[in-house]
Every structure is written in C-alpha cells, then in structure tokens.
Symmetry: C2
Subunit: 381 residues, 2 copies
C-alpha cells in the first residue's frame, strides 16, 4: 500500500518569492484514464490527509522517498475518502480516474520540511519555504501534465482540500470543467485564523520544537498533540460531542478528584493527540496551517473582489456545506456561491443538514454521494 | 487597592474527601450593610477573575497574604464588573452591599495551590486538594457568617461565577432570596469539557510545569499562554472576531511568508497569552478548570435530576444568556429555567441578543442592567 512518487527536477518558484530546487509528489490513482485522457477527478486532501484517498492503491512501484521524518508509518489501511471513491460511488471509478496527490509541505511522501534540501544535504526543517495553496496546486499541475492528462472533469475536496479544488478552477480555467468544494471557503474565516494560530503556537511553544530543528527521535509531540486536540474539537459540533460523549466518565463511577482524564471526551482527546503525533510531523503541521491561513482567492485573483476572482473560472460549481460546521460555516459557502453567480458563472449550492460539524465531509457519504453523482452526470450530459 | 483577607483556622472538608487545614479568602465589598444585615449581593467571579469586582475597593486594611505565587501583581485598576456594581448600577450599592470573594484555588489572594501548606511549610503545588464549586461556596459561606451577614438578597455571576451563584441558592436555600446566573449552566457542556481539558493539557504538556512543582521564576508560561488563547477564543463569537479583526494584517501590507503573527487576530492572541501569564498561576488555572468540569448540580443535588436539585431552592431566579455564546449556550440556560419551572420554582429567563459570545456577560452592561434592576426591584417589593 504505497503511493507512487514522482520526482520533479525543475525548480518551482513559490508565491513567497523563494524557490524549491526540486520536489517529489506522492500520489495514488483509482480507475482508468479514458482514451481522450480527460476523465480525471482530482480529489484534494485536508490538512492531516495524504494521497491514500481510496480503498485500493495503484499498483505502481513506489520510488524511494526522501526525507520521511518522524512518525511516518506508511499509508496502510482504508483511504480517507474510501466511501466516496470507487465503482458506483460519488466519484465513480467506472467512469473517472480519480487521483489524489499529497500536498507540498506535508510529510506523507511529498516534499516538505522534513525532506532533504539537495543544496545542503541537510533537512530543510524551518528553512523550507512557506508554501501556499497556489503553490500546492501549481506543483500538482506539473504532475497532471507529466501523467499526460489533458483535462480535468472535476476537482473536489473538503476543508484545505476544497481550497485546492477552488484554486485549480481559478488558476487553470481552461483545464478544469467542474469544481466541488466541500465544507470549505474562498478564504479562511477570522475564527479559523484564530484556531490555526493557536495550533501553531502550541507547537512552537514546545521546547522540543527547538526552532524547528528537532531530531527524529525527540520531536515536539506534546505541542503537536495539543494542536491536534484543538483542531479535532473545531471539527466537531456541540451536538456531535454531546451525542458521542455527553458527560460520561471513562471506566469509573465517580470523579477521581485529580487531573486524570475522568471524562470520556477527555480520554478521547488525549488518545487523538497521541495517535496523531505517531503519523504526522510538527513542522508539516505548521506549514499546512500557514497555507490555510494565507488562502484568499479574492485577494490573490480578484484584487479583493471574490466575484472578480471567480469570473476567471468557467467551470461549473457544486458548493457543499454542512449545517453544524462552525469552522467553515455554511455562510462562507453561500457567499462563495453568490460570488460565482454574480460573476455569471454556473453554480449550485447545498447546505446539508448534519450534526457532524466540519467532519461531516468525511462522514456524511450518503448525502454527498447523491448530490455529487447527480451533478457530475449533468456535467457530462 | 488591596482586598481584605480573612483567615480561617478551622479545617474545611472538601467534596473530594481531603481536608484543607486552614485557608484565607480575599474579598472586597462595595456599599453598606443594612441594619438588618441582609442586603448583601454576592458577586461571583469567573475563572480568571478576582475579588476586585467594583471600581472602588474597601478601605479595610489587608492582612498579609500568604503564598502569592508568580505573576501576582495586585488588584489595581478598574474592577472586572465595575460597569455593573455601584450607585444606580445593576447591583446598586445605594441599596445593597455587594461582596466579591476570590475563589478557593485561585491565585489572587485566597488560598490555592501556590499557598503554603501549614503542615509542611512548603507550597502545596499539586498536593493542593481538588476543590469543587461546592467547596468554593462552602468556604464563602464561612466568610459571610464571619462578617455577621444574616441573609443574601442575591447571588450572581457569569460563567464559573454563575455556577457559584446557583450552588449558593441550592446549598443554602434558607439564606439566598434570589439568584441571577449569567452565561452559565447547571453543568458544563461536553463541548466545554473538551476545551477545558485542552487548556489543562496545554499546561501539563509544558516541560516547565514539572508535575506542578515549578519555581516562581520559571513557571510554565508557554503552556499557560496556549491555554489562555484557547479559552479566549471560546469566549468570543465568529461574528465578534470577524468584526474586531477580520483578516486584517498587523502593521504590514503583505504576508511575511513566515510563522510570524501576520494577522491582527494572531498578534492579539499572542498578546493575550503573554499578558495573562503575568497575572495568573498555571496550577490555579488547572484547579479552577477542574472545578468547572466537575460542576453538575443535578448529579450533586438531584440524583441526576436537575428539577429535583432545583426543587431545593426557594429563591427567585433570573437566568440570563447571550445569543452568540456557544460555550455556555442559551439552550443550557433555557434548560435550567425549565427545570426550575418543573420544580415549581419562580424563574424568569432572557436570552439577550448579542454578538459578543460568552464575553457578553462582561460587555453587555446596559442590557443586563435593565433586566437585573427590574428583577431586583420586584424581589424587594
């Protein structure tokens, strides 16, 4: 269960003015490319995701992967969007070839801060340049070109993945026929900025972070775990937390009168933090969190006007959001849809009634499937 | 501007089974005690508050204060509820004597983890026993008795203060004539449990915490700052953050492409974290956060039934909440009011329309004042 790795030896100029001299991208594909090589759906992953979106992996032999840092345990198991990708599913691999590419800056096979800088022979660590969603997508476009793909039927993803999906549609207007951003936004909300910055502060406050130059065997796990706990709660809703945990105690009948994790929700959060640090790199978390906070389609493409930015994109849009998602609230998705409409574009938007908060894009497969299949069928008709 | 300190030399048995051999309580009063000594309003403070609620302090000479730990800079400046306490204000000092008592476990004059354990001559640190809201209120009752107060016209407070106000009414039914819990709840919600536990984890994850035994000159500031940032954002609303900061950059015209605090909201949160650690003790934060999470009136007083618990209290209740408070949501206040009604009690409840989130109880003085003055006048009539 390994992704394919494509190595790019030409430099990539970044939005921040720096240059990546070379980079790797890890990716997986599901389904077959059509004879016209344009039946591709780009499934874009969220902050903690990776290339392993579907239940099956490509058979392609993986190249050696440079610079895998602490806690990278491979991509085994069921893909993060397996419920959505496959024969007869929302992204139907009988009709489309779905590709999922690990983003630049991550730690799951693509080049990121734990990779070796070929100019120094040392790890980048915090010398890794800041990458934006735009940079991620430009790197992905090189892979799409390298694979001989001639057109994209749809880009889609939730959260940071939805930002990439939108960036694709605006940056490559002649290449992307439709776009399905889910639980996402054209720019991170001020509330989102706040939580992202708290996560980064938690990591950078950990003395083991050491300005970003920590050894593999002593990473800033404590800070990263706190960042993950913060993120995790923002992905839930008050209803989903209440339904899942309530105030139930964890394996005890009374309070411990201590700082132990007495409540199930406390124990669960510690477990989530501990689990996360085993598979994710703290510096990558910083970089991807920064990319989230910098994303602003209107500023980047429309001189501050979202409708001007969206006027660049002739794609058809299906904008999905979830009623209880307070991190990427439906209002942001509705504002995006309105901007597309103002720009004269084609857009449908649906607020799916769900108690699962931001996580709904990973959980509410059935309801998304019906909407997405119907939308994609009409695009092809 | 110093609070009075009252020293209690009789032991206090605590809900967790441990015993405090002696304790101090810091308090301030505003207005005069009536001849019948029963015109007292107990204003209860929230997690980070202290006895300095009003604009003026008592003239009473302060006793020496044992065990003031790191970062305790005294209680100078305008009180945390100055807009609500004073002549003609919501809590009218022309009619009432308002008293505000620093809670047990805090670091602002009353005995807490940074105090000296008289049995060992050393600081308690994490040998300090866990204190509950019930313990806090039983300690306060001793002070009320010591001051010769014969009846309480009202207890009130926001957040943790509202919990104390409720505990007063249920624990001392013959003593409390009315109760005004604001932006509070009869038990911390599961979402609140989650955020509280993340704050504690951030502190305990800081290696400088050292299991709670840190020196005054090297406290776990980094962890406490992260806990404060988390708390601070939960006290705001998405609207108030958007209105106050939006995505404005801090003293720059473009992104720094670094992990600096580029956005105003990022800079603001760092400032809030840095400011807080100068005046608050990390261990006290842990203890008060634990008290918040353990509070559960129904479990404590009603064998799981909130209306059974509230049936103990003959007081008249005014339950206030704020529309955009997602940490102590209006639904919890409405459920509390409903339980009082079910128990046959007297209750009014108002959800005040406000964008200020949980912080509204400190900010929306005008609207609270009208409701509270009217309510209190009717109690006396």
């Amino acid at each position: 269960m390994s992704p394919s790795i494509h190595r790019f030896r030409e430099a990539l100029e970044l939005d921040g003015g720096q240059v990546l001299p070379s980079f790797d991208l890890a990716y997986e594909t599901y389904g077959n490319l059509s004879p016209s090589r344009d039946n591709v759906i780009v499934a874009c992953h969220a902050l903690s995701g990776d290339a392993h979106a579907g239940g099956a992996t490509t058979g392609g032999a993986a190249s050696a992967v440079d610079g895998l840092g602490a806690g990278q345990r491979g991509l085994a198991g069921v893909g993060w969007w397996d419920g959505m990708i496959g024969p007869g599913k929302a992204f139907d691999t009988d009709r489309y070839q779905v590709i999922c590419i690990n983003v630049l800056g991550s730690c799951r096979g693509s080049t990121g801060p734990r990779s070796i800088d070929p100019r120094t022979g040392r790890r980048y660590d915090t010398d890794f340049p800041i990458v934006t969603v735009g940079d991620m997508v430009r790197a992905q476009k090189r892979l799409i070109d390298a694979l001989g793909i001639r057109g994209i039927a749809a880009t889609s993803g939730g959260s940071l993945g939805g930002m990439q999906a939108l960036e694709w549609a605006v940056r490559y207007p002649d290449f992307v026929r439709s776009c399905i951003p889910i639980a996402s936004t054209a720019r991170l909300s001020p509330m989102g900025l706040a939580w992202s910055s708290i996560g980064r502060n938690a990591i950078m406050a950990d003395p083991r972070w050491r300005g970003g130059r920590y050894p593999d065997d002593d990473p800033p796990d404590a800070g990263l775990a706190v960042a993950r706990m913060v993120g995790h709660v923002t992905y839930l809703s008050s209803i989903s937390i209440a339904e899942k945990f309530g105030r139930r105690l964890q394996n005890r009948s009374d309070y411990s009168y201590s700082f132990d994790a007495d409540f199930e929700v406390e124990s669960y959060l510690r477990y989530q933090g501990d689990k996360f640090v085993k598979r994710f790199d703290a510096n990558s978390y910083l970089y991807l969190s920064r990319a989230l906070s910098y994303f602003d389609l209107a500023a980047q493409w429309g001189k501050g006007s979202l409708s001007a930015a969206m006027a660049r994109a002739p794609a058809s849009f299906l904008v999905l959001s979830f009623s209880s998602d307070w991190l990427y609230p439906p209002a942001d998705s509705l504002a995006l849809a309105e901007a597309i409409r103002e720009a004269g574009g084609s857009v449908e938007s649906r607020v799916i009634d769900s108690n699962y908060g931001h996580d709904a894009f990973l959980v509410e497969e059935g309801r998304q499937t019906a909407l997405i299949r119907d939308f994609l069928e009409r695009q092809d008709a």
